[in-house]
């Protein structure tokens, strides 16, 4: 799905989190929102997911105005920073949650839900953990379960907030490839937020460098590296 961000602005009280920003995300791309904390990247992601509403501007999904759509209507698979798995539910129940939450008319039968959950567990290469609780999983496993839970609703796009932030360096590298593989397998337009330039450069098709609520540069990793548009970008990717 093609995502168009048109002059989106957001402020919390008197502090501006986003000055009007515009961005076009091509269908099927894996995009990194890269920037230091406070750059507005998470706010932008949450606006895409419908968890925050902008003060002005529009969001277009495949050319249609989606600005006023509720979070439920957007059908965005969202992976939260600390995963926000339902701690009182098993892995199976976590992944099945979105399907079970559907109104009766569109809810798949129990056997179909079970089949889909198993397929997702296979996709994240953790076929045997359905009966476990989140507290019994490692950080990397939790991240992949959160991904499977987001994918279960057959989302129109995938939004990930610092998906590797809570992991140690070795697991991080492994899961980067995992996310790339899942993105390529599903073909979903995916946007992830990161403050790690190496992660953004290695993983993304398109990198959006942000600072202080503004977009500094948008480009392919090699282009950004070769021709940083501003002094900020040059310093940030050198770090």
């Amino acid at each position: 799905m093609h995502i168009e961000i048109d002059e989106i602005a957001k402020s919390f009280g008197t502090t501006a989190a986003l000055h009007p920003v515009s961005l076009s995300i091509p269908s099927g791309a894996l995009v990194a929102l890269l920037g230091p904390s406070g750059s507005g990247k998470t706010t932008l992601l949450r606006i895409l997911g419908g968890l925050e509403y902008p003060n002005s501007g529009r969001v277009l999904f495949d050319g249609e105005d989606a600005t006023g759509l509720t979070v439920q209507e957007r059908r965005a698979g969202f992976v939260f920073q600390s995963y926000a798995l339902f701690r009182h539910m098993t892995v199976f129940e976590n992944i099945a949650y979105g399907l079970k939450a559907r109104p009766r008319a569109t809810r798949p039968p129990a056997a179909e839900i079970a089949r889909r959950v198993q397929r997702l567990l296979d996709l994240i290469q953790l076929p045997d953990i359905a009966a476990r609780y989140p507290a019994q999983l490692s950080g990397g496993q939790r991240q992949r379960v959160a991904l499977a839970r987001a994918l279960a609703i057959e989302p129109r796009m995938l939004l990930l907030d610092e998906p590797f932030g809570a992991l140690d360096a070795r697991v991080r590298k492994e899961l980067r490839q995992g996310l790339r593989d899942i993105h390529d397998a599903t073909g979903l337009t995916s946007v992830f937020v990161t403050h790690d330039q190496e992660e953004a450069m290695e993983l993304a098709d398109l990198v959006v460098v942000m600072s202080m609520g503004r977009i500094e540069q948008v480009g392919r990793p090699q282009d950004i590296r070769a021709r940083p548009a501003t002094a900020f970008v040059r310093d940030f990717i050198a770090a």
Partner: protein, 287 residues
């Protein structure tokens, strides 16, 4: 490692055995004097003339009416405050709005206002001499000196218990799980039932138990609004006081023992539930 014991290394937070024993002794002595002894005394006094006398005093109509009234009041007030408490905690922890600090103070008000004053406020508002109260009496629905007034007073006094128990838990748990449920397509009510409620159920249970204990034991506010009509508006604590003032010590202490037993049963229920669900409580704690 065998010679390690030759050096008596102590963790920096440890106290010497002597200090430890002294502290434990003080705690046990204090608890025994302030909690244990009075508890034993209540039952001893009740049974001073034997089981038969105690049971007979409880079989009397006024005593039975008091027990029934107290249970009724708890059965009405506690569910009401469970709903109010959840609503207040939800509002305070999930939304930002003007006047939030004021609302939090308001929730604590029943803790800081003397119950007698609270009771007087209700009499002033709903008494037969007030505009509203006069009209209600004319409609045949008196508030003061009747069950509605006692319930009103009890709900006011016990309001903070459940909200106060829930607010820190809901702040600690944050919004992330609820937001996740929203992105997965859950509507508000479904989200509350499947995510919020399971996460707060232990805090809610504690709140309900505390609220229940206080609802059954409330004296001051109820004394003012009930009019202390024997067999009609006299709750257990009120009846106990009246019996005691009439030097009917066996009857007074028998009823007091029943009230104490109700509280002990509540505590026991809590402990049993905690035991049975210990792993669940641990599992639902933040990971």
């Amino acid at each position: 490692m065998s010679d390690a014991s030759a050096f008596s290394f102590r963790a920096p937070t440890d106290e010497s055995p002597l200090v430890r024993r002294a502290l434990i002794g003080v705690a046990v002595l204090g608890l025994g004097l302030l909690v244990g002894a009075p508890l034993v005394a209540v039952f001893a006094e009740a049974l001073k003339q034997g089981w038969l006398a105690a049971l007979k005093s409880l079989g009397n109509r006024d005593a039975l009416s008091a027990i029934w009234l107290t249970l009724t009041i708890a059965a009405i007030s506690v569910p009401l405050n469970a709903v109010f408490g959840i609503a207040a905690a939800w509002l305070i922890t999930r939304f930002d709005f003007r006047g939030k600090a004021f609302l939090i103070t308001l929730i604590d008000l029943p803790f800081s206002v003397s119950p007698v004053v609270a009771g007087l406020c209700i009499v002033l508002m709903f008494g037969a001499n007030s505009l509203l109260g006069g009209w209600l009496v004319a409609q045949g629905f008196p508030i003061v000196f009747a069950l509605p007034g006692i319930v009103l007073a009890t709900v006011f006094i016990t309001f903070p218990f459940i909200a106060r128990e829930l607010i820190p838990v809901m702040i600690e748990q944050g919004r992330a799980e609820e937001e996740a449920a929203l992105t997965l397509g859950a509507g508000g009510w479904h989200l509350f039932r499947t995510v919020t409620l399971p996460n707060i159920r232990w805090a809610l249970l504690y709140g309900v138990l505390l609220c229940n204990a206080r609802a059954m034991g409330e004296f001051g506010a109820v004394a003012v609004v009930s009019g202390k009509i024997r067999g009609q508006t006299a709750t257990m604590p009120i009846t106990i006081e009246m019996l005691y003032n009439e030097y009917l010590s066996v009857a007074a202490f028998s009823l007091a023992a029943v009230l104490t037993l109700l509280a002990l049963v509540t505590l026991l229920a809590k402990t049993v539930l905690e035991r049975r669900h210990a792993d669940q409580i641990a599992a639902t704690h933040r990971h």
